[in-house]
Amino acid sequence: MAERLYLYPIWLRIWHGINGILIVILIITGLSLQYSSNEYIRIRFDLAVSLHNISGILLSFNYVFFVIGNFVTGNIRFYILEWKGLADRIFKQSLYYISGMFKGESTPFPVNKDRKFNPLQKVSYIISMYVFVPLVIISGLALLFPEFIIHRVLGFSGIQLTALLHSATGFLISVFLIIHIYICTTGKPVSKNFKSMWTGWHE
């Protein structure tokens, strides 16, 4: 029987749950605002604005909690990249996802106490949590306080560019979310990874 590992401490699970709920609210309200219309019924605009703003602020605090938690508990070690051989490892993992797993091969980078994420997960989590989320938070806060945005940037409206960055990053996060949820279903059984994030134990 495989080793049973306690990989997801309670603080991380709480952060993850709150983060997931807020991200979903932000995506739904963000889409509703971006595609607001008189012709189709979506979330009422002012309600969507309030929900989006409140969720965004809560997400920002939650993100600070996540970063501090990572450093305090040492969880940050799972996000440190070893550059040497990275491309090979990513290729190997990708090959497993697109071919190996259908042939019954075992995962090339099994989870253990020092390796919570496979190389592909690690890179995508680093990009999403340390690039996309900070970007979406900073651009979102800037839109919340537009008086701090540079009025003109290279002849373009500063608000326009900030909004573009915000919605584009939000879009990429939503793509990440879809893939993230799908990849979580590749456990055996399908509910395995979801159960781990609920109990904290990887089995």
Binding site: L33, Q34, Y35, S36, S37, N38, E39, F45, D46, V49, S50, N53, Y97, I98, M101, F102, K103, G104, L144, P146, E147, G155, F156, S157, I159, Q160, A163, L164, A168, F171, V175, I178, I179, Y182, T186
Partner: protein
């Protein structure tokens, strides 16, 4: 703009330099009333004026009534810059002290000059007048509320000519409203009510300051009349636009008002807003870049197709 700059330059020279210098450099055509108006602006162009008191034999310095102080630079930027003061005011004003009965001088209205004149037909002054008389400014106030309450003929600029940026149009037009609605003294010229605080009565607007700097008061407070450049039927507050998506959608009402000035051609050609407001403003829900929309749909589509194929292969295993 270059023309205005030249006029500024000449005015600055006229004020600061000896007359001979002005004469030498005055190759650019001056407003036709420029020379006649010099004498008026000598007193009415500043807060204090001096005159020779024939009775006392002294030169006296007095404060000008602030209601009668006009900025000459603003005047020469305005649409009436070619007028002499006495084209609209009595020629008797050329005497000093001014005869006291001139205080009761009747003022022209816009239609007195612009009504029925084919030169100004495109501005549709008659429709504008009809719209104004439907507005709360007309129906809830006496006849004292006339064009000049909002449009000072001494400085009025036509902002919808296409030469101004949207931000300049917003700033200029909103300043007209703020003149009374953000100024208790002016507000009480026509009302005994206490002026409500704009921020309080607009507390439903997220980011009040941004809204006030990006759109004009009249976008929400006037009836929509697509044939007019500026609608003058100011609606009762209960009828003002409060539904966010009126502006925040691709068929934003701003297309028929604020963005109309720069947008008519682009609208015909492209049918979406990016060409017009990309450089001027950002309105959530209104600014949708077609290309980014297509790219995002493609990426989403590929993601879902990839997942679907993966699921099928997993099931086939």
């Amino acid at each position: 703009m270059i023309r205005y700059f030249l006029i500024y330059f000449l005015l600055a020279m006229a004020i600061n330099a000896p007359c001979s210098v002005v004469a030498d450099s005055a190759e650019v055509e001056l407003p036709s009333g420029f020379e006649d108006n010099k004498r008026c602006f000598q007193c009415h162009g500043q807060k204090f004026y001096s005159f020779e008191n024939e009775n006392s034999g002294r030169t006296e310095r007095k404060a000008m009534n602030p209601n009668f102080v006009y900025n000459s630079q603003d005047f020469y930027k305005g649409v009436h810059r070619n007028f002499a003061c006495t084209d609209c005011h009595s020629p008797d004003y050329t005497t000093f002290p001014h005869p006291s009965e001139l205080r009761l001088e009747a003022m022209y209205t816009c239609l007195d000059c612009h009504g029925g004149d084919p030169t100004y037909a495109k501005f549709r002054f008659e429709v504008l007048d009809e719209e104004f008389h439907k507005s709360v400014h007309s129906t809830r106030h006496s006849e004292d509320f006339n064009c000049w309450m909002c449009h000072d003929p001494h400085s009025y600029k036509r902002m919808t000519s296409g030469e101004f940026k949207i931000s300049e149009i917003v700033s200029y037009h909103n300043a007209t409203c703020m003149e009374c609605h953000a100024n208790s003294y002016n507000f009480q010229r026509i009302s005994d009510d206490i002026k409500p605080e704009l921020k309080e009565i607009h507390d439903f607007l997220p980011n009040f300051e941004l809204h006030f700097s990006a759109v004009r008061c009249i976008e929400c407070h006037t009836s929509k009349l697509d044939t007019m450049w500026v609608n003058h039927n100011i609606l009762p507050k209960e009828q003002a636009v409060r539904n966010c998506v009126e502006c925040h959608s691709t068929n934003t009402i701003l297309m028929a008002s604020l963005y109309k000035y720069q947008n008519l051609e682009a609208r015909k050609e492209r049918g979406f807003l990016n060409s017009v407001i990309l450089n001027e403003a950002y309105v959530i829900g209104a600014n949708r870049n077609e290309y980014l929309n297509i790219i995002s749909f493609i990426i989403f589509g590929l993601t879902f197709v990839g997942i679907l194929v993966h699921i099928i292969l997993r099931l086939m295993k």
